[in-house]
Symmetry: D2
Subunit: 463 residues, 4 copies
Amino acid sequence: MATQARKTLVGNVDSHVLAFTIGKDPQLDLKLAEVDCIGSAAHVTMLAGLDLGKGPLFTPSEHAAILAALRDIIGTIRAGTFKITATDQDVHLAVERLLSRSVGEIGRRIHTARSRNDQVATDLRLFAKTELMDLMDEGARLAAALLTFAKRYERVPMVGRTHMQPAMPSSVGVWASAHAESLLDDMGLIMSAYDYNDRCPLGSAAGYGVPLPIDRQLTSDLLGFAAPQHNVLYAGNARGKCETVILSACAQVMLTLSRLAEDLILFTTPEMPYFTLPAAFCTGSSIMPQKQNPDVAELVRAKASRVMGHLTAAMGVVKGLPSGYNRDLQEVKEPFMEGVETTRSCLTVMAQMIGGMTANRPALEAAFTTGVFAADRALELVAEGLPFRDAYQQVKANLDALESVRPAAAIAQKVHLGAAAGLDLALLKQRVQAVGRFTKDERKQYYRCISALLGARYPEMRE
Amino acid sequence: MATQARKTLVGNVDSHVLAFTIGKDPQLDLKLAEVDCIGSAAHVTMLAGLDLGKGPLFTPSEHAAILAALRDIIGTIRAGTFKITATDQDVHLAVERLLSRSVGEIGRRIHTARSRNDQVATDLRLFAKTELMDLMDEGARLAAALLTFAKRYERVPMVGRTHMQPAMPSSVGVWASAHAESLLDDMGLIMSAYDYNDRCPLGSAAGYGVPLPIDRQLTSDLLGFAAPQHNVLYAGNARGKCETVILSACAQVMLTLSRLAEDLILFTTPEMPYFTLPAAFCTGSSIMPQKQNPDVAELVRAKASRVMGHLTAAMGVVKGLPSGYNRDLQEVKEPFMEGVETTRSCLTVMAQMIGGMTANRPALEAAFTTGVFAADRALELVAEGLPFRDAYQQVKANLDALESVRPAAAIAQKVHLGAAAGLDLALLKQRVQAVGRFTKDERKQYYRCISALLGARYPEMRE
Amino acid sequence: MATQARKTLVGNVDSHVLAFTIGKDPQLDLKLAEVDCIGSAAHVTMLAGLDLGKGPLFTPSEHAAILAALRDIIGTIRAGTFKITATDQDVHLAVERLLSRSVGEIGRRIHTARSRNDQVATDLRLFAKTELMDLMDEGARLAAALLTFAKRYERVPMVGRTHMQPAMPSSVGVWASAHAESLLDDMGLIMSAYDYNDRCPLGSAAGYGVPLPIDRQLTSDLLGFAAPQHNVLYAGNARGKCETVILSACAQVMLTLSRLAEDLILFTTPEMPYFTLPAAFCTGSSIMPQKQNPDVAELVRAKASRVMGHLTAAMGVVKGLPSGYNRDLQEVKEPFMEGVETTRSCLTVMAQMIGGMTANRPALEAAFTTGVFAADRALELVAEGLPFRDAYQQVKANLDALESVRPAAAIAQKVHLGAAAGLDLALLKQRVQAVGRFTKDERKQYYRCISALLGARYPEMRE
Amino acid sequence: MATQARKTLVGNVDSHVLAFTIGKDPQLDLKLAEVDCIGSAAHVTMLAGLDLGKGPLFTPSEHAAILAALRDIIGTIRAGTFKITATDQDVHLAVERLLSRSVGEIGRRIHTARSRNDQVATDLRLFAKTELMDLMDEGARLAAALLTFAKRYERVPMVGRTHMQPAMPSSVGVWASAHAESLLDDMGLIMSAYDYNDRCPLGSAAGYGVPLPIDRQLTSDLLGFAAPQHNVLYAGNARGKCETVILSACAQVMLTLSRLAEDLILFTTPEMPYFTLPAAFCTGSSIMPQKQNPDVAELVRAKASRVMGHLTAAMGVVKGLPSGYNRDLQEVKEPFMEGVETTRSCLTVMAQMIGGMTANRPALEAAFTTGVFAADRALELVAEGLPFRDAYQQVKANLDALESVRPAAAIAQKVHLGAAAGLDLALLKQRVQAVGRFTKDERKQYYRCISALLGARYPEMRE
């Protein structure tokens, strides 16, 4: 019977064609199931208050029945028994099916004044909202792990490299907190993507609004969005685009991680054994007993390219589309979800790995050769009044004289802001905490809204 | 116990880390399961013939037992009961597990003189081999459908457009066979990728060969490859790269399809109703009863960007990797498989859709305005001796004079090679057939080799 | 003699190799020449105040002489006579050469306590700063043009499309302001990139700081940056990354423009003649007298892919680089500069074109068919109490009944937030003004800093 | 006066708009100037033989005059005095301008029966033809250099690495010839792109042919193309696509080079000092006297991402374009030219660098630790009859026993095809020579055609 309905609504589509057009939606949409229910709860609550002169679209008891049914469906989703069938095609129709089963014809009425277009757009933004909060938390966790490592080995000397070659005295503190600061700046970009995402497209229907006086500000407030997206056509056009904004921020996180990963791969070779990764994060080889391979770091490095591939795909889909909904947008869903999830999992695994990593002080000190001190020595001579070029030549001619320099002493001289002896790790720590505070506040506010909407303590769903 | 083995072989890895490092391999590798068995059959057959002075590594009966066990595993795979567990990590160890269960310790010995690196490289090339043959068949099918359409409407006038605007007289025959010819050229690129892929990496082990006199030419022959890849390090380095070669060819197919799709989307609007798509390939709207949407074409257009995203990801992973195996390469597997599969499914669905499409002659003719005839008229005047610029001005000043021109007459004048009245559709048809002959011959030769190797009629697997 | 110096400093490099390594720097760096002088002014001013116990590095008169020389060089740059020779290799050495010519050996001393690495990083951020301000101004200008168009034709009916097909009643106001709102959101992303960029890397030297107590906060303040970048290694690592952050924001602008361009191309075809582009923005055809081609829109659409290509290139260069300076970063310069410049020029030309565009009311109204009113009618029936499915069927069966609906009446019913009769164009106008205010304030503050630093009214460079 | 013509032909376009639409064409098109003359020579020669019933379009003396004028223009181009003005817009109109100046009105008549669309498409294919031949020559040169290096150090032991860590015994011969073989396979892909390119679009005009019986086979033959492109619309649609096919092949070359570059960067660090780059290919640091930086390798690695960016851009432009010429295609020109040129220059510089590189045998041998011999030893034990797992454990427990193994002995055991002692460098050498023979033959045939066409010995242009 559901099939009949399907056929009536969108025509009698060939089954192979249907399989092609549905694609992976039945799997991917599972991640949207709960937010789809939440979006429906907001929509029906708004409709229930709508006065069209002939009584409300939903009586209070109908409204309550629908909310109860939606809560039940959320229970089903959490129990893992919610399924999206090929007949359903997508999560919206699967939820509608269950709803109709519970509350009959009124279940269908909730589709009034909206379209699957604004529904999925809303779902994706609600999904992104919590994903981005999680991502910020994981980013803060990795930054914290890097800062802990930086603190622990703050003044342990480490050769600074350029062109991958030993160059100048530096420290483990500088190395580790450089990656932390990069990540913190990335969190700023994630936050900017979070703000971009924090607009409610609900009520834009198929991109052209509806001839009913719906209250878009209300649904936006009910769902905890910062504001409704204003223009209805833009609300539709922003689908796909919003995902690329988020993927761009994710790509920045992955760029940072790829460089951290490269360092770890390099600095755990026998030739540059500066760090030791926790054994549980390495794999051996089936054929080479002596190996301890940095597989996790290699995969993170590669996954950076995967996320860039997702970004390329998503941008490519959106580019040059005419205004209004185009089915092309469906193809943004998978790269978007994969890209966000990959980024988050990389942050998590890196935080764990850095947490268990140790630095090898003897190996780090052994890497200091006279040449490494040369540039600094030339600068000192300049400061003593020698012309730069003369200083340079004098150092070059007397590299042996640098043999007695101790690495620790060399870095102790770099006292200015942000150098080995001038790091302000507390400042970075504060930025980590600020990220944590932001997500905590946002979560609290979001949960409060959804709890009020559903009439149950969210996210636990207890009454 | 399998877990124990796992721990012994590659160390005691944290379970979350294991999940991260395994990624989607357990699902993705299912597509490699059958070819993994075939690769193992070739390897063990070669080993069985190896004379190391102390008797062969496998006695004839051990060899036969292993082949029988591999045939059984293939049976399991086809029955859909083959599983790759988290303990297995990948298809190679899953097959090894089943093999050991059947034939005991000798099952493990087949890992002699190879590594998972050359195993997976071989698997991927065998997988790609048949995928590319399928892809060529589907490409030929779509080209044939386009040529049938071109033949059916060969001299039906159609306005040729530039800058998306009506420009000059053309025909449906020109339009449809243009896409067919593009696709046939793409098939040439697929064939070139097929040749690139047709080299056997088996025996390169972890990228540095083995200290045993293995016969790499033999395994290559047994598996039906054109030749072994020569250099063992290159055999390893080519992993990832080979996939990007194939994805590049797929991207070309998708570029062609994306332009065909764009035309179909445009030429089925009410304003340019040149073609009618089969109803079963369109969907309606849940909220707009009058719509017949070209969803399939839109998805194909979008999927072109997806395949480009896969290519970007794969190239990004490979770029700048140091020689020798790096775990990064695992991340090429998914974009590769997805890219090939997407391309094939798009060819299939487009062939079906074009097969059911019709052209609307009245609408096509109605689109001819006087302006469309202008350029041709100017050329005729030039041919009659008028200076080009004068001809151009004369036509511009007398557009009304072109009202009596009949579209069919206009295109009948374009008699030169490849124009509306000079198309050689038979030539293109021959090229379609050549593609079909190529894959037929290749398949036959491949099946013959694998049948001989397995001792069973392949691909049916009957004795 | 300069050549000698060159050879002494970086070795005797083969001239072909030098050409390869220098690449396009001599041309590209011209865009950095003025900011390179400004950066040097800040550095030397800081050094002049540095007390190393043996008197300052520069006496007040030496300091004044260098500032005067830098002002002269800026004069040369503005006069177009500044050149970067192959011997110079890059802008830094070209400026140093001129400086030494003016002030002798003290000119060389300004290289104390810095490296070409932090110099170019600082230059690029100063360059980006003003480029991004220009870009925001141009973005605001286009948004304003779109809003003016929206206001002028606010209630002119326009068929809203989905799947490129006529779908529902909408308005020109909705269409134009949708693109404006998209652009305004993009400006938010540009602003976020502006903040990311607004950190001063000067003093990080080659990425590991210097053994002198330089004052990085001071140089940051002198240059008008919001703050110094803290960690010296991160200051180096952020090169390349900062450019990709900016390119990501540019790519978002281009995505918006590509969709606007696609609409313009489509809606100026004879079949959908909704808009008329100003004649001066169209080109004809050398062979087809009747054509008015939307070349500008086509180029903008294509340039969106160019900017994405620049982003892909830049991200690909940065991905997986080990910490510390790598020469690879040089290859980010061109895609960065090209990407930013392309984005700005597209905004400019589109603002001009939209400014001269007109809407064709009769054609827009003629596009309304009964089907376009169907969805809205179904919704009205629902609001009147009919079950959704029944409403849907009833409308479908009586499309003829919709023939009397007037488009203007149809859109007048869409009164809710952001729909045809519920647009708040004033709100968007305010957002445009806010962008303008932001850049005005930033510019003022930046010019004040640089004027103080150079001892001349900047940017005019009058005393 | 030329300006007048310009205005008459394509309308009165705003000068800023003109600048935007012309873009970099006046510079980029300089590379097409000579082939544009050649293409015109073929077209006019064909027209001169065309019998339209009213005498030929060009008398023999007119034909001769035009050829002479074209030869003169080629002289101008080679003298470096050929200019494309903003009024010209592009190379075609610049050549036409010079031609008209020489031969008057008949100069304009050569535009008969063609369009700038098929002209530029033809130009680009002629340009690509020689570029690809050059690229194959440079590729062969680098492969030869790598093989010479491989031969010179064929049996010098080198630690084979996986996961960037020391893994198994290998040789410099294996390392160098692995990159050579990769490059040779890439040359196969370049050759496939060459074939794809080797079709003549001339005569397709604006994509819809002309109403005159032009002889497209003749112009194709005159220009030395393998065949005309058949379908006129496809001849136009293939523009852009052909460039992406070539860029894909270039990207493969760059992937190979990026991995070679990464190895060189890694293996010239003080920690892994396996190779010494020629001093003339390294740069020092302005601040660090001891450095010898592998800048060339770093730039090559980065340029791989640049070429991928060009590919992404070009594919993005082409994707989803409707059939027929779109102005978007102009934006493919720059990434195409840049991509091909970058690839060629990287091949050239790498061939020179490898030519001067030396291997450091002591350092290479010192890198062998006991662990490196472990896997091979385990395999020997297996070959002696021990179960694999036992062999593995036994080796792991007795790594010290491997201290006496000599690296040279270890690699001497790897006798099978493609391993350290089983390399067939002569085979690869033959493949290098085959590439050289191919380009030599192609060049000869091409020069013969163009010489006949122009009536002068080409490429020298002596009579």
